[in-house]
Symmetry: C2
Subunit: 221 residues, 2 copies
């Protein structure tokens, strides 16, 4: 599904150079469910952004769904990403001027689909995260955990082949966290989605097939 | 320290009326360390916003530090709040145009304090959350957990009498979460701060003196 080869990522800020990822070699197989763990600041979100083609590595190669994607235009990357990837961001990135419904609809606008089919899919996604009653709210009118659930609904509504989940239960109580975990497991087992989930919760990580540990930008164990 | 009597909070959105808090009666004693738990959307952040004088109840009375604060002007409330309350927000609310240093400095600008004394206090606070190396970064150049730690540093730098912590470890690994818990316990035991901490983590709640459980805006058990 996704293969990272000898990947480095460097961030430059005024005078500080941060090596956020160093010599990363990771392959995510089709249909795998993998957890990523490690201390705050060790490179997990950076890894997911590179896997999701939202950011380019400073060094190294990415292969995606058997495509060598180095040298693809931004436009081609964006289209490929919209069709293939669902992303649950650590800080949600909801659009505050749009309602919950409109936020969740966004991934579907890139596809050939009738308005009524979109409406049906959005309702299903919101139903699954128990937020159908908040369809007309704006994100600023929701609790933190409700915003996180909208982000989850938006990421799954398009039935993505690759789901990247960056701490998807950080703002949720344990019951809701388990409900979200069931959704992810269902997507993986029944829809065949490949899933990479960053989490600080070792109990959630126990539900995955393997755990990638990062420390200071490097893979350990 | 803070007393809520018969407090209701209603939010109005187009046609939906949400009773976020209903008939809440809570007293936080001086020097108490209390946890607040409950499902996503049950009113925890709303409770903290009212305790921190950032929002007014729809019904009921608030007594703060033995002051009856109903009828205080916005200006008087703001000044009182700046001197007394430290707030760790669930979504951090850092200012992206300012550096980490300047973000943490904000609570101290309201006090009579030399620039060198401010600088010393800010360095201590950033040291405690292990972020001194990131002093000149902007929030958008930080990881999610690093942003959370800046929010924590800003909340503690002024040595507040009341610290309101809304899920302060949601984006942190378990080791860092324990470090933050030690900071809170130290503030409580050695500086006498009253602390109200919303958390989904029952292991953190075990370190507090009592747990307030909310469900659908009401206190339970
Ligand atoms: N500005 C607003 N307008 C309308 N409804 C709101 C607003 N802010 C909060 N609410 C609603 O009030 C209820 C309580 O929200 P609150 O943020 O206090 O929940 P919470 O317990 O902190 O949840 P979480 O654990 O998900 O952070 C939620 O159902 C939410 O949708
Ligand atoms: N735009 C940026 N400019 C400079 N440095 C950055 C930038 N984005 C991230 N970093 C740095 O790169 C490192 C890795 O960041 P990343 O967000 O991947 O960490 P993380 O493992 O997701 O942490 P957390 O668990 O706290 O979310 C951090 O030290 C961070 O400060
Ligand atoms: Mg992160
Ligand atoms: Mg909340």
């Amino acid at each position: 599904m996704v293969q990272l080869e000898n990947v480095d990522k460097v961030y430059q800020t005024d005078r500080i150079e941060t090596l956020a990822l160093s010599n990363v070699n990771i392959t995510i197989e089709d249909g795998e469910f993998v957890a990523v763990m490690g201390p705050s600041g060790c490179g997990k979100s950076t890894l997911l952004n590179i896997m999701g083609l939202l950011d380019a590595p400073s060094k190294g190669q990415i292969q995606f769904d058997n495509n060598e994607i180095n040298g693809w235009s931004d436009r081609k990357l964006a289209r490929f990403r919209n069709e293939t990837v669902g992303f649950i961001f650590q800080s949600f990135h909801l659009i505050n001027d749009l309602t919950v419904f409109d936020n969740v609809e966004i991934p579907l606008l890139y596809r050939r689909m009738s308005a009524s089919e979109r409406k049906k899919r959005i309702a299903e996604a919101l139903e699954r995260v128990s937020l159908i009653s908040r369809m007309k709210h704006r994100p600023s009118q929701l609790s933190g955990g409700q915003q996180q659930r909208v982000a989850i609904a938006r990421a799954i509504v398009g039935n993505p082949k690759l789901l990247l989940a960056d701490e998807p239960t950080g703002n949720l109580d344990s019951q809701m966290g388990e409900d979200i975990m069931s959704i992810l497991l269902d997507l993986n087992k029944n829809s065949g989605a490949s899933i990479v989930m960053v989490t600080h919760d070792s109990r959630l990580a126990e539900n995955t097939e393997r755990v990638i540990h990062l420390f200071d930008g490097r893979q350990v164990s």
